[in-house]
C-alpha cells in the first residue's frame, strides 16, 4: 500500500472493514498492460470505416448537397445526409442529459436547412478504407448561402442580430415572448427586497466578467461502431458515459423502438460530461443500414472533437454584492448570460443555483439567460455552469473581504450557509460540511505557512455543487466458492468498479477480492442513468449496499432451512454465519446455499438523499511581471466527501478537478476569427495543463457523513472544478494588485492588465 503523505482525514467515522481502504482497482491490470478495449480498439469482421463531412462555415443556409460523385467512388458503401434522418418531432424529452428538443438533437447530428457552427456535421460516408472515405468526403458538393455569424452574447443580444433559429422565442418559465430571439430562456431566483438590501450595505461591489468557451478535453476522441442486422436489430458499441442515454437518443432520433437497440459499453477514455450527447452513434447505424448491414466504425479526429462536440459555455456575468461594515452580506445580485452554442441548453440553470449557494443571505436575485450563438452546442462539463459563475462571485467576495480588511476565510465563515439555509432557488440545504471545510483550510499547513517573495500572492475561493442521485440497477450472483459476480451498468470512468465492489463487499461482510464487478450492456442490466452528476459511487453504491443486504438475508434464510432453525436465530458471525452451535464461513455458506438452487439477487434504486458537496481551495502563485505568466507554486483543495469509499480515487477526483480548473483559469479557450472559424482546434493550440504546469495538489478530505447514504457517501466528482478560477484570480490580485475579470488569465491578458495598471504602453 502506498503512503499518501498529502492527504489527511478530518473527522472520525465508523470503522468499516472495506470502505475507506485503498485496494487496487479490479480493471487495473488490463489498463496498465494495454489489454483494456476502448471505443476505437474494437474491430469486427468486414468492418467499414466511416468519416464525417463538416461545415467550413459558422453560419449558412444549405442550398444543395450533391453526393453522387462520392457514391460513385469505388470502395464507398454508403453516404448519408440529413435527408436520411426521419423528421424529428418538435418535442422536448429528457434523454439522460437534461431536457432537449428532439429536432435540435437531430439537426445537430446532420445539418438540415442550416449549418450553425464551424464543424457542424453535414454528411457521413462509409468505405472500405479510411483513405477512400476521406477521398469520398472531398467529392461531396455543398452549395451554401453564407450568413453573418453570431459569436458572443453581446452580438446575439443586439436588436438587429441575425437569428440562428427562426422559431426560437424566449421562454420565461412557461411564457413565450412574441418576437423570435437568440435568447432561448430567462429564469430568475429571488428572495427579499433587493434594493432595500443594498441600502443596508456599507460597501457595494459591482463587477462584470467574461469567460470563454472551454472543452472537457478527454484524451480519448469519441468512437462508435454500429451493426444493423437484416432483421432490423441494432447493436452499438460506444465509448459513453451512459449506455441507456445512447439507446434513448438513437431510438428517438432514428424512430426505432428501444427493444431493437442494444448498446454495448467499451472502456471510456474520459468524459467529464462530454460523452452523454451522441454525435456518431446514429450516423454509424444509418451507414451500416445503407451499407448492406456491414459494421461501421466512426472515430473522431482531435480537431473534430474540438470543433464539433459539446464544449461548455462561455459567459458574460454581472455580480453585485453589498456587505455591512462587519462583512455580513446584505444583498446579492447576479446576471448570467450563458452561450448555449447553436441550440438551446447552456448550463445557466445550474449556474444560477451555484452562484450564491455558499452564502447565507436573505436578499438576493439571480437572473439567468440561455443564449444561442454560432458555436458547437454546449454539453455538460464537470459541474456544468459552476466554474464561470464562481469565478465571478468569488472575485467579488474577495474584493469585499479585502476592502473590509477581513481574512478571506473569515469573510466566508461569517456568511457561511449551514444545514437548513436556502440556495438561491430557495431549496433548503440538508446536512453539509461547508464550515468544516473552511475550518480545515484555516488549520492546514498551507494556510498557516506565510507566503513570502515578490510578485507572489495567495488566493482562496469556495464552491458548491448539488450532486445528483438518479436511477441505478445491479445484480449480484453468488458463486459456490463464496465469490460474488457483480453486474452493473454504470460506466467506469475513474475507478467506480472499485468503489462499488467495496460497498458490496462491506455490506455483505466479505473481502473486496471476492467481488467481481462487470459492466453490462443494455440487454443484460436494467435501466441505469449516466455516470455523471457525481452520482455513481453514491447511487449505484446504494444498489451495491442493497444487494449485500438482500444476499445476506437470502443466505440466512437458506441456512435456516438447512439447519432446521428459525431464521432469526441465524446471525452473521465473523466472516460467516452461525446459529447456536452451528457455524460456517462465508464460502461454506455459499456452497451449502447453492446446492439446491442458484442464488442471485437484483435491485433497482432511485435514491433522493444525495448530499450536497462543498470545496474550499487555496493557491499560492507567482506572476512574472515581464511575461504575464502565472506559476502555481502550491495548491490545496479541501472537499467534503461525506465518506471517502476509496480515498485514493477521491483524492484523484479532487486533484483532477483542480487541474482542469487551473487549465480553464489560466490558458484554455476557444479562439475564433471574425468569420467564426475555430483557430485552435488542436491540443498544441488548445493548451491544457501538462505535468510541467502544475505542482503537487494537496488534498484534505473532510468527512461529514451524508445521512442519505448507508456509508455517508456524497458525490465527489464535480465540485472540485468550481473554485479554481476564483482561487487563482484572487491569488493573482494579491500578487500584483490587478484584478482580472476575464478568463483565461493567460500571459497576454495578465501582461495587458499589468501594463494598464502601471500606465505602461509598449506600442505608444
Amino acid at each position: 500500500m502506498p503512503s499518501v503523505p498529502a492527504s489527511s482525514s478530518e473527522t472520525a467515522a465508523p470503522a468499516w472493514r472495506v470502505v475507506g481502504t485503498r485496494p487496487v482497482r479490479p480493471d487495473g491490470v488490463d489498463k496498465v498492460t494495454g489489454r483494456a478495449l476502448y471505443g476505437a480498439d474494437l474491430s469486427l469482421p468486414g468492418m467499414l470505416t466511416g468519416r464525417v463531412l463538416r461545415s467550413p462555415l459558422a453560419h449558412a443556409r444549405i442550398k444543395k448537397i450533391d453526393t453522387s460523385a462520392a457514391r460513385a467512388l469505388p470502395g464507398v458503401r454508403a453516404v448519408v445526409t440529413s435527408a436520411d434522418l426521419p423528421r424529428a418531432a418538435d418535442r422536448i424529452e429528457d434523454l439522460g442529459e437534461g431536457a432537449i428538443n428532439l429536432r435540435y438533437l437531430s439537426d445537430n447530428l446532420l445539418a438540415g436547412e442550416k449549418v450553425l457552427y464551424h464543424g457542424h456535421a453535414i454528411a457521413a460516408v462509409a468505405a472500405t478504407s479510411a483513405s477512400i472515405a476521406e477521398q469520398a468526403l472531398a467529392l461531396i458538393r455543398v452549395d451554401y448561402e453564407p450568413l453573418a455569424p453570431v459569436m458572443t452574447v453581446t452580438e446575439a443580444l443586439k436588436p438587429d442580430a441575425p437569428l440562428l433559429l427562426a422559431d426560437l422565442h424566449t421562454d420565461r418559465m412557461g411564457q413565450r415572448d412574441a418576437a423570435p430571439s437568440n435568447v432561448a430562456s430567462h429564469l430568475r431566483h429571488e428572495r427579499g427586497k433587493l434594493e432595500e438590501g443594498f441600502r443596508k450595505a456599507a460597501l457595494i461591489i459591482d463587477r462584470r466578467f467574461r469567460t470563454e468557451t472551454v472543452h472537457q478535453g478527454y484524451i480519448e476522441p469519441q468512437a462508435a461502431t454500429a451493426q444493423v442486422q437484416a432483421d432490423g436489430q441494432v447493436t452499438i458499441w460506444s465509448s459513453t458515459q451512459g449506455i441507456f442515454a445512447v439507446r434513448s437518443q438513437v431510438a428517438e432520433v432514428l424512430g426505432l423502438p428501444v427493444s431493437q437497440i442494444k448498446v454495448v459499453p467499451t472502456e471510456i477514455g474520459g468524459g467529464f460530461g462530454g460523452k452523454i450527447s451522441v454525435y456518431l452513434e446514429p450516423l454509424a447505424v444509418l451507414l451500416s443500414r445503407h451499407a448492406g448491414f456491414l459494421p461501421v466504425r466512426l472515430v473522431m479526429s482531435r480537431t473534430e472533437v474540438l470543433t464539433s462536440t459539446g464544449p461548455t459555455s462561455g459567459s458574460d456575468i454581472r455580480i453585485r454584492i453589498g456587505a455591512d461594515a462587519e462583512g455580513r452580506l446584505t444583498a446579492m445580485q447576479a446576471e448570467l448570460y450563458y452561450e448555449a452554442g447553436a441550440y438551446p441548453g447552456s448550463p445557466v440553470g445550474a449556474a444560477a443555483v451555484v452562484s450564491f449557494a455558499p452564502y447565507a443571505c436573505d436578499t438576493m436575485r439571480v437572473d439567468g439567460y440561455d443564449v444561442v450563438v454560432n458555436r458547437p452546442r454546449a454539453s455538460a462539463y464537470r459541474a456544468p455552469g459552476g466554474t464561470n459563475v464562481a469565478f465571478a462571485v468569488e472575485s467579488v467576495i474577495d474584493e469585499l473581504a479585502e476592502s473590509l480588511d477581513l481574512d478571506p476565510i473569515e469573510m466566508r465563515l461569517i456568511n457561511a450557509v449551514r444545514e437548513g439555509d436556502r440556495r438561491p432557488d430557495n431549496l433548503p440545504l440538508s446536512k453539509i460540511g461547508y464550515v468544516e471545510c473552511l475550518q480545515a483550510l484555516r488549520q492546514s499547513d498551507h494556510y498557516r505557512t506565510p507566503l513570502t517573495g515578490r510578485h507572489r500572492g495567495r488566493g482562496v475561493a469556495c464552491g458548491y455543487w448539488g450532486n445528483w442521485g438518479g436511477q441505478s440497477s445491479a445484480t449480484a450472483v453468488l458463486n459456490s466458492d463464496g465469490s460474488v459476480g457483480f453486474n452493473v451498468a454504470s460506466t467506469d470512468i475513474g475507478g467506480s468498479r472499485a468503489s462499488l465492489a467495496m460497498q458490496l463487499a462491506e455490506s455483505l461482510g466479505i473481502d473486496y477480492s471476492q467481488v467481481k464487478p462487470r459492466i453490462g450492456d443494455t440487454d443484460s442490466v436494467s435501466y441505469n442513468d449516466v455516470t455523471g452528476g457525481s452520482r455513481t459511487t453514491f447511487a449505484t453504491g446504494w444498489a451495491a449496499y442493497e444487494l449485500g443486504q438482500k444476499l445476506s438475508a437470502e443466505l440466512r434464510q437458506r441456512l435456516a432451512l438447512l439447519w432446521e432453525v428459525p431464521v432469526d436465530t441465524v446471525t452473521r458471525q465473523g466472516d460467516g454465519f452461525a446459529a447456536g452451535e452451528k457455524r460456517v464461513g462465508f464460502a461454506e455458506a455459499a456452497r451449502l446455499a447453492c446446492e439446491d438452487a442458484p442464488l442471485m439477487v437484483s435491485t433497482t434504486v432511485h435514491p433522493k438523499g444525495y448530499g450536497a458537496a462543498f470545496s474550499v481551495q487555496c493557491a499560492d502563485v507567482e506572476v512574472d511581471p515581464d511575461t504575464g505568466k502565472v506559476t502555481v507554486l502550491r495548491y490545496t483543495i479541501v472537499q467534503d466527501a461525506g465518506k471517502a469509499v476509496h480515498p485514493s480515487y477521491v483524492e484523484g477526483q479532487m486533484q483532477g478537478g483542480v487541474a482542469q480548473g487551473i487549465g480553464w483559469a489560466l490558458n484554455e479557450e476557444y479562439v475564433y476569427n471574425e468569420k467564426g472559424e475555430l483557430l485552435n482546434g488542436s491540443l498544441l493550440d488548445y493548451r491544457m495543463p501538462t505535468a510541467c504546469d502544475l505542482p503537487m495538489i494537496d488534498t484534505v478530505i473532510v468527512e461529514v457523513p451524508n445521512p442519505g447514504h448507508p456509508y455517508g457517501v456524497r458525490g465527489v466528482g464535480e465540485v472540485n472544478i468550481i473554485p479554481p478560477a476564483g482561487t487563482l484570480a484572487n491569488a493573482i490580485h494579491r500578487a500584483t494588485g490587478v484584478r482580472l475579470t476575464a478568463l483565461p488569465m493567460s500571459p497576454p491578458r495578465v501582461l495587458a492588465a499589468l501594463w494598464d495598471k502601471s500606465g505602461y504602453s509598449p506600442f505608444a
Binding site: P2, A36, E220, R302, S648, M688, A691
Partner: protein, 169 residues
C-alpha cells in the same frame, strides 16, 4: 490502393513481419494491422503522448513516424512491458498501487515515457519527472499520483540491487 511493402522489425522481443502501405504511420500499423491496441490515439499530431513507444530505446510518438522507418529496428510497446510470466513491470505495479490512473487511456503512453526517463535517469528529481512527462497529457489525475508513482519506483529501485530491479526487454 497503394503498393504494400513488407516491414520487418523486432516488436516486444519478437521478430515480426507485416505488410503496410507507405503512408501508414507506425501507430496505424500497430493498431490496425498488428491489432496491438494498447498504444492509443489521442490526437495524431504528437501533442498528447498517448501513442508513445520506445524505438531502439528512444521515446517517440508513434503517430509521427512512418511505419516503414522502423524497418530492422527494435520497438517496445505497452504490451511488452510486463514479463511473459505475467509479472508486471515495477512502473505498472506502481501506477496501480498509487491509483495513478483514472480512465486509463493515457496510461500506456505515460508508462513508456516513465520507462524512458528511468532508463536514462534512474533517480530523477520531481522536476525531471515532470519535464519528461510533459509530452503526455492526462486530463483525469492532475498528474500528482503519476509523478508520485514514478518517483516511488525510482526510489525503490535505487534501494535494491540491480539484479532484482532488472526490467524485461
Amino acid at each position: 490502393m497503394r503498393k504494400k511493402s513488407v516491414l520487418e522489425f523486432t516488436l516486444n522481443g519478437e521478430t515480426r513481419a507485416v505488410l503496410c502501405e507507405p503512408q501508414q504511420t507506425l501507430l496505424e500499423v500497430l493498431r490496425d494491422e498488428l491489432r496491438l491496441t494498447g498504444t492509443k490515439e489521442g490526437c495524431s499530431n504528437g501533442n498528447c503522448g498517448a501513442c508513445n513507444v520506445l524505438l531502439d530505446g528512444v521515446l517517440v510518438n508513434s503517430c509521427l513516424i512512418l511505419a516503414l522507418e522502423v524497418q530492422g529496428r527494435t520497438l517496445l510497446t505497452v504490451e511488452g512491458l510486463a514479463r511473459s510470466d505475467g509479472t508486471l513491470h515495477p512502473l505498472q505495479q506502481a501506477f496501480l498501487d498509487h491509483a495513478a490512473l483514472q480512465c486509463g487511456i493515457c496510461t500506456p503512453g505515460f508508462l513508456l515515457s516513465a520507462k524512458a526517463l528511468l532508463d536514462e535517469h534512474p533517480l530523477p528529481t520531481e522536476s525531471q519527472v515532470r519535464f519528461w512527462l510533459a509530452g503526455n497529457l492526462c486530463r483525469c489525475t492532475g498528474y500528482d499520483k503519476i509523478v508520485r508513482a514514478v518517483l516511488d519506483v525510482a526510489r525503490t529501485q535505487a534501494a535494491q540491487p540491480p539484479s532484482v530491479s532488472a526490467t524485461p526487454v
